[in-house]
Amino acid sequence: MPRLSYRRALTRALADEMTRDESVVVLGEDIRVAAANVTTGLVKKFGPERVRDTPLSEQAFTSFATGAALAGARPVVEFQIPSLLFLVFEQIVNHAHKFPLMTGGQCAVPVTYLVPGSGSRTGWAGQHSDHPYALFAHVGVTTVVPATPADAYGLLVSAIRCDDPVVVFAPAGALDLREDVADPAPVPLGRGVVRRAGDDVTVVAVGHLVHEALAVAEELAGQASVEVFDPRTLYPFDWDGLVDSVSRTGRLVVVDDGNRSCGIAGEIIATVVERVRLAAPPRRVTRPDGAVLPFAPALDRAVQPGRDQLTAAIQLTLKDG
């Protein structure tokens, strides 16, 4: 079976969609030479008109993509740094997201915002290490965080085909993964997946943390049967899929690389307890409130959710109730 790396999965999704649909164009900084090692080979195949290197004008090229979408294009905008999303939050929220409703349904804005290397890359410090997916879920922009190469391919393809704006977070912690993928296929937006079946507790893990959760589940296998649920899309969330899992296990722990206050973990817990009577109080493992990732690697790691914290949270939940 062919090995597919996470990065090449993204490359392949872009190439396949550009081949299939002339309206797909890619914009971003240094994408011609594929500085982020995602747009590799695209300019050669599709030319500089459809693979456009932009000046450092994130606000303008983000709204340029909105305008191109209003005129029929399906742009993919690549961002070099996750923190740049703060710079273009206005353009995405006030314009791309609001246009369909404000115009009474006269238009669609099918733009994909691709962030290869979201979250900590270790050693890139405060302004390069954010993971602001909860912000986009909050404003109601479709938000996906693929955990595996197959999902990276399948969710990016679905994002490009979606008639609404979609933010694709490709976590730095997952970019170097490889897996055997026979035939990469689209993955539907809004559908989660049980990565490991279990009976005692449901662990919801986001993005690269899915692999941490699987490792912890394996370590705990002697003591407890842990189910690992990967939502894949954070907005719209697969509430039915998750409720189905938690209804069976009766216990919930969420591990999420976002900040604690108003983070996606809080939303997941709130929604589950609205619908399911749990056997024990739910737990969450997140970045701290207001996290700014410090530079020194030990400090950077200290602020991110870790395996030990997750193990402790699972054990507490199993003990309670």
């Binding site: 005129a71 353009q91 006030n94 006269q106």
Partner: protein, 323 residues
């Protein structure tokens, strides 16, 4: 129309003028909630620029945007229904005064975030051109927008990629209460020149002067030229927003207001017609607007159960907010 047509130009200016006056009556009557930013006094700019465009060309407007939408050809009745929040409005009552859009006539929306629309229009024109059309675009913005970084970034992108966008600055001397002299270092035209964009300053009170300048720029752009800027000097005859009708803000000297109002685009354009033609146009505009008011007020109010309609083009349904 791309050549001079004094009657057509006057008709557009007069239509916008009377539309705004009727809209203010509807604000006072409580039929338009939230008020409006009247375009009174600036009608010559939208009329002149849009007279230089063809049906397929694209436009974006501003918070003071009724004139742009009407001049590009939107139906005044559906426009007024939109201001009144009815389902028969251009945006089905979802946009209102500041977001009126009519994609059918190339209006990609009034946009209420100052300085934001230039980049959007640049992308739209670029995409249409990529599909082999020869259309151009015009994006309107006020003097307040020239200090917004995102607009200056759009100047750069359009000039760099030679996207044929006419950047039309409506310099009415103020951003709300802030005079240009208190906000703009350097000059507005100088900003365009810094990006290698030709810039023309015109008398925005004379619709024909605006039309001629826009037509010349559009001709150059259609022939393969890059973006250009027109700075149209104008004066806002009324309030920044109708809330000022209730709360008087002291920032424009009375003499300045009187001088500004003395150069009226309706009179300048109307003075070029014989009185009979002018009277005929006036009567026809009155009839159109009387019908528009009737149409607007007869339109059904939207059903609250449809408040989330059109939120997602993909068909995604949002969770509602109830317990």
């Amino acid at each position: 129309m791309t050549g001079p047509d004094p009657a057509a130009l006057y008709r557009t200016v007069r239509l916008i003028r009377r539309f705004e006056e009727r809209a203010i009556e509807l604000v006072d009557a409580g039929e338009i909630v939230g008020g409006i930013h009247p375009y009174l006094g600036q009608e010559g700019i939208a009329a002149g620029v849009c007279a230089a465009l063809t049906a397929g060309d694209l436009v974006t407007g501003t918070h003071r945007g009724h004139g742009h939408v009407l001049a590009k050809g939107a139906d005044p009745a559906r426009m007024l229904a939109e201001l009144c929040g009815r389902v028969t409005g251009l945006n089905r009552g979802r946009g209102g005064s500041m977001h009126a859009a009519d994609f059918g006539v190339g209006v990609l929306g009034a946009n209420a975030i100052v300085g934001a629309a230039g980049a959007i229009l640049t992308g739209a024109v670029w995409e249409r051109r990529r599909r082999g059309t020869d259309l151009v675009g015009a994006t309107f913005f006020g003097d307040g927008a020239v200090n917004e970084g995102m607009l200056l970034e759009a100047f750069n992108l359009a000039a760099l990629w030679r996207v044929p966008v006419l950047f039309v600055c409506e310099n009415n001397g103020y951003a709300t209460t802030m005079p240009v002299a208190g906000a703009v270092a350097g000059t507005i035209a100088g900003r365009a020149e810094a990006f290698g964009m030709p810039a023309t300053a015109v008398d925005g009170q004379d619709p024909e002067t605006v039309r001629a300048a826009a037509a010349a720029a559009v001709a150059r752009m259609r022939a393969g030229g890059g973006p250009e800027l027109i700075e149209a000097h104008t004066y806002r005859f009324d309030a920044h927003h109708t809330f000022e009708h209730r709360v008087r803000l002291d920032y424009r000297p009375p003499q300045e207001v009187a001088d500004g109002r003395s150069r009226d685009p309706v009179e300048i354009a109307g003075g070029r017609l014989d009185p009979a033609t002018r009277a005929e146009i006036d009567a026809s505009v009155e009839a159109v607007l009387a019908a528009a008011v009737d149409f607007a007020l007869a339109g059904p109010h939207p059903d609250p159960a449809t408040a989330l309609d059109h939120l997602y083009a993909s068909g995604l349904t949002a969770r509602t907010g109830g317990g």
